[in-house]
């Protein structure tokens, strides 16, 4: 592998002794013509390595905003966010992108696999972003096995898979770069309850093996799989 440029080494160096994620008095304000909307109001919490956390709250309470900040898709208006000890407050778009690629795993309610790529290619996508096209399939197969996807599906395209299978591929894609944290937005939102249960069992299993997981959900049953629940209301943590 090509050695990473110095700046990237700095931001990607793993600091195992640090909490995976720290929010300290984080404020997010959306400036709107009709008046500013305070989506998050002085939110502080900490995620330790190996935790499995669910985020719950009513619609409009700020869950997506929180997830976007945790996923380095956005930066806070005020306050500090640390990912494994790295402060992301005033990073450039390029640096944030590298953190997303190397430290964060993302899954979405609608799975959002790349329609033009097959299962293996979808899973290796961010590995290819880091290391080029010829990354091989060994690591992808390893991860796909860990999400319990049948081997004969590896060369299928997303449209040929069921919802549950797609979500497994999406989780595998999120895990390929061995991220510090897995962020899941409504991981079972588009699945029937039986398939949803299967995904939750998989996530529990992944967490038992050491993956740190934060998921946003509306569903109390789904939240019960987690070790801890962060409840927010009107942009504040209430429990």
């Amino acid at each position: 592998m090509v050695p990473l440029p110095e700046t990237e080494q700095k931001v990607t160096a793993i600091m195992d002794d640090q909490p995976v994620m720290v929010f300290r008095d984080v404020v997010k304000i959306y400036p709107l013509p009709a008046g500013d909307v305070t989506a998050l109001d002085r939110v502080s919490f900490q995620v330790d390595r190996g935790e499995f956390i669910s985020v719950m709250g009513p619609s409009g309470s700020g869950k997506s905003t929180l997830l976007n900040l945790m996923g380095c898709l956005d930066t806070p208006t005020a306050g500090d966010i640390y990912i494994s000890g790295t402060r992301i407050g005033d990073m450039s778009d390029e640096e944030l992108t590298n953190i997303r690629r190397d430290r964060i795993g993302f899954t979405f309610q609608h799975f959002n696999l790349f329609p033009l790529l097959n299962v293996i290619e979808n899973v290796t996508f961010s590995l290819m972003l880091r290391a080029g096209k010829d990354v091989g399939t060994k690591r992808a197969k390893e991860v796909l096995r860990s999400v319990q996807l049948e081997e004969h599906l590896y060369t299928h395209t997303p449209t040929e898979l069921s919802g549950g299978q797609q979500q497994r591929v999406a989780i595998a894609r999120a895990l390929i770069n061995d991220p510090d944290i897995l962020l899941c937005d409504e991981p079972t939102g588009n699945l029937d309850s039986k398939t949803g249960t299967g995904i939750m069992e998989l996530m529990t299993e992944l967490n038992r093996k050491g993956t740190t997981i934060i998921m946003v959900t509306h569903d109390q049953n789904i939240a019960s799989y987690s070790n801890r629940t962060i409840r927010i209301s009107d942009g504040r943590i209430v429990a």
């Binding site: 033009l116 972003l129 010829d134």
Partner: protein, 400 residues
């Protein structure tokens, strides 16, 4: 670098939208073919003309001024309808003096009926009268020898071919041969069209014979062969100064200048036609821009996902540039191949030859067309690619 996967995605995206990609490519193909084949045609035309005029780029041609001077009437004109305006012996001597040491060649010219052998039909052909001493300076023979006798003549190669005339054949000049019969001593090399004498379909007789047969003691034109090409303009000026002091009695044409003017005109026509081809390529570029914008709009969500899992702006940008480039390169290359076919067809149709097609100055037009096609596609891909790269990942993710 991760270029590979984005190139792969670009390729697949073109493939799944084959119809619209092909249509956009068709535009590029047409544009490239238009540019390249117009360029080829223009160049072939210039080459064809310059080849047929090649022998005469070194002359100054003096003809009687057309346009009402009373001076210079002489001889009463030939039977074959030569112009009544001529150049007198005195004028010729002046021309000869000022253009020395270059050779001044007086030319007599008419056309008349003639018969080749007993019982054959009359034909009409051009007849040139030249001093035997001047002929070797002006004409090269491909068969036989130069003629010095008043009973002999030379014939042009096309004349010989068309009428099956050989060295030794006899030609009876005039209605029922009333001007006499001449023996062919030589056949002149093909010269193509020319400003001085166009002998390919003509016969060349001695000046004395011509003067006797058509009662002439003057000339139709004078050709000055200039040895040093840089002097052409000077010779022309000197002659004009000498003869046109009071009245304009002669027109002096510098063949090199005339050829240059001709080629400039050809160049302008070619540029104009090629520019029309260029416009069709621009239109094709707009269609590329259009499908690229469609491609970006359709894939906003996909772009959002890519960005959220770690694709850099410029990687997204390249994905779309690759798409435009693939369309451009494939379309332009197909266009390049087709313009070879098109150039071949146009050349053989309009010039009756394709020998000017496979020469560097023609082929380079294909390179221009292809390059221009690729560049247009790339330029038209830049804006959509930039738009895609600079989408806000959060907004893009939320897009349905």
């Amino acid at each position: 670098m991760s270029g590979g996967i984005f190139f792969e995605i670009a390729k697949r995206n073109i493939r799944i939208h084959m119809l619209r990609s092909s249509l956009a490519m068709l535009g590029i193909i047409i544009g490239v073919v238009a540019i390249a084949s117009m360029g080829i045609l223009g160049n072939s035309m210039v080459l064809a003309v310059s080849e047929s005029l090649r022998t005469v780029g070194d002359s100054v041609i003096i003809t009687p001024h057309v346009g009402g001077s009373a001076h210079g009437f002489g001889g009463g004109g030939g039977i074959g309808g030569a112009s009544s305006l001529t150049i007198t012996e005195q004028d010729f001597l002046q021309i000869k003096r000022v253009s020395a040491p270059n050779i001044a060649i007086p030319v007599l010219q008419t056309s008349d009926r003639m018969k080749l052998g007993v019982g054959s039909d009359d034909i009409v052909a051009a007849i040139y009268g030249l001093n035997p001493d001047d002929v070797p300076d002006l004409l090269n023979l491909k068969e036989g020898g130069y003629n010095r006798a008043n009973s002999g003549c030379l014939v042009g190669s096309k004349f010989a071919e068309d009428h099956n005339v050989k060295v030794g054949s006899r030609i009876a000049i005039g209605t029922d041969g009333d001007k006499g019969t001449l023996r062919v001593t030589g056949i002149i090399e093909e010269r193509g069209m020319a400003f001085d004498v166009s002998t390919d379909s003509a016969i060349v007789v001695t000046r004395d014979w011509f003067g006797g047969a058509y009662n002439r003691n003057d000339y139709d034109k004078v050709v000055v062969k200039v040895k040093n090409l840089d002097e052409i303009a000077d010779v022309k000026t000197a002659i004009e100064k000498q003869l046109n002091r009071r009245d304009t009695i002669v027109d002096v044409m510098d063949t090199r200048k005339t050829m240059e003017t001709l080629f400039t005109a050809f160049g302008q026509i070619t540029t104009f036609v090629t520019a029309i081809g260029g416009i069709s390529l621009l239109v094709a570029g707009v269609s590329i821009l259009n499908i690229m914008m469609m491609s970006v709009t359709e894939r906003i969500k996909e772009i959002g996902i890519m960005r959220s899992i770690g694709a850099q702006k410029q990687e997204v940008m390249w994905m779309f540039l690759y798409e435009a480039l693939i369309l451009g390169v494939v379309g332009s290359l197909i266009g390049g191949v087709l313009s070879l076919v098109g150039g071949y067809a146009i050349s053989s149709m309009m010039l009756n030859t394709t020998k000017y097609l496979f020469v560097p100055s023609s082929m380079v037009n294909i390179v221009y067309g292809v390059t221009f096609g690729i560049i247009i596609c790339l330029i038209c891909g830049i804006y959509p690619a930039w738009r895609a790269a600079n989408l806000n990942p959060i907004d893009a993710l939320r897009h349905e």
